[in-house]
Amino acid sequence: MSAESGGENFTQYIQHHLTFWNAPEHASALASLHVDTLIMSCVLGSIFLFWFGWFARRATSGVPGKGQAFVELALEFIDGQVKDAWHGSRKFLGPLALTIFFWILFMNLMDVLPVDLIPAAAEATGAEHFRPVPTADVNMTFAMSLSVLILTLFYGMRAKGIGGYIKGAVSHPFVSKNIFMKVLLAPFNILMFTIEMVTQPVSLALRLFGNIFAGDLLFMLIAGLMTHFISLWYPIGIIGYVAWSFVELLIILIQAFIFMYLAVTYIAMAQQQH
């Protein structure tokens, strides 16, 4: 980026950073894949798995090393949160919460890296565009929240039986003892159930996406200021980048935690008996 007259080039810089690596190229939105999102999320998920698996396999009951102590600390923190929300077996929910939390945390952490670092490296090896933050892609967050929805339905049905689950959907939240009133209230109950099942994944996905996308965009804007090399904007850009990094770190942690917490709450809620 050379020193230029701002305006047009600044917008081009932002738009360049907002474009995904689409494959196959020029395909319609429904027929193409965001390769950058797929690569980054798979790599970060594998890093989490290998990191935690490494320490889990060589865990000792003696004096733990620093790495093992950190993994144990993280595990106990997540387990405590799940214990608060759900009093039954944590055989599945605990590992699920741990995976969700650390996967989202790792993906969000790509936000704090300099905006041009990974894209420049990827573009040097031939990619046209590269967006390194998978959670700033609405496809990624919706994929995760829809997976949570499927798990919610599955665990609800497993806990109450398919018939019991449908009965719960038809007869709650408006309850009546009279058989006539039951039939009358059934459509409203089904409507409420549908609304709940739609708003849960949508709010879960859009909350994460909105936060990380806004943070990412602000980083891009600040980095855009720094493209005016010999001007007053350059030091302001550096200060702004550092300051916003601190705010963003807090947001990243809170959003990863909220996604994990709400996913556990939804799955726990579906299993509770009325």
């Binding site: 600044f10 932002i14 909105g210 936060n211 806004a214 965009l217 804007l221 947001i251 809170i254 917490y261």
Partner: protein, 96 residues
């Protein structure tokens, strides 16, 4: 055509200002109400404060989220306006 582009720019600026301003207003009111209640309840029962602090940060994230969504959309429209881009491509295609 210049008039149309100026119209899009002016309306986008107003919309972005409203989105950020109203979003910040709502988030600030919500945060203030929650913060005051948090301090009140912590003063009443100090032994609950670790649990309350966790819950407070959860709510901070929930309250912040809506503001950040509107901020993101406003920033997107301010700096990479798709409406303006389509108008500009139409203008470039017009014979002069």
């Amino acid at each position: 055509m210049e008039q149309l582009i100026a119209l899009i720019q002016a309306n986008t600026a107003i919309a972005a200002g409203l989105m950020i301003g109203l979003g910040a207003l709502g988030a600030c009111i919500g945060m203030g109400v929650m913060g005051s209640k948090y301090l009140e309840s912590m003063a009443r029962q100090p032994e609950l404060s670790p649990m309350l602090t966790g819950r407070m940060f959860l709510l901070v994230g929930l309250i912040d989220a809506d503001f950040f969504i509107s901020l993101a959309i406003a920033m997107f429209f301010a700096f990479a306006n798709p409406l303006l881009t389509s108008a500009l491509t139409h203008a470039a295609a017009l014979p002069h």
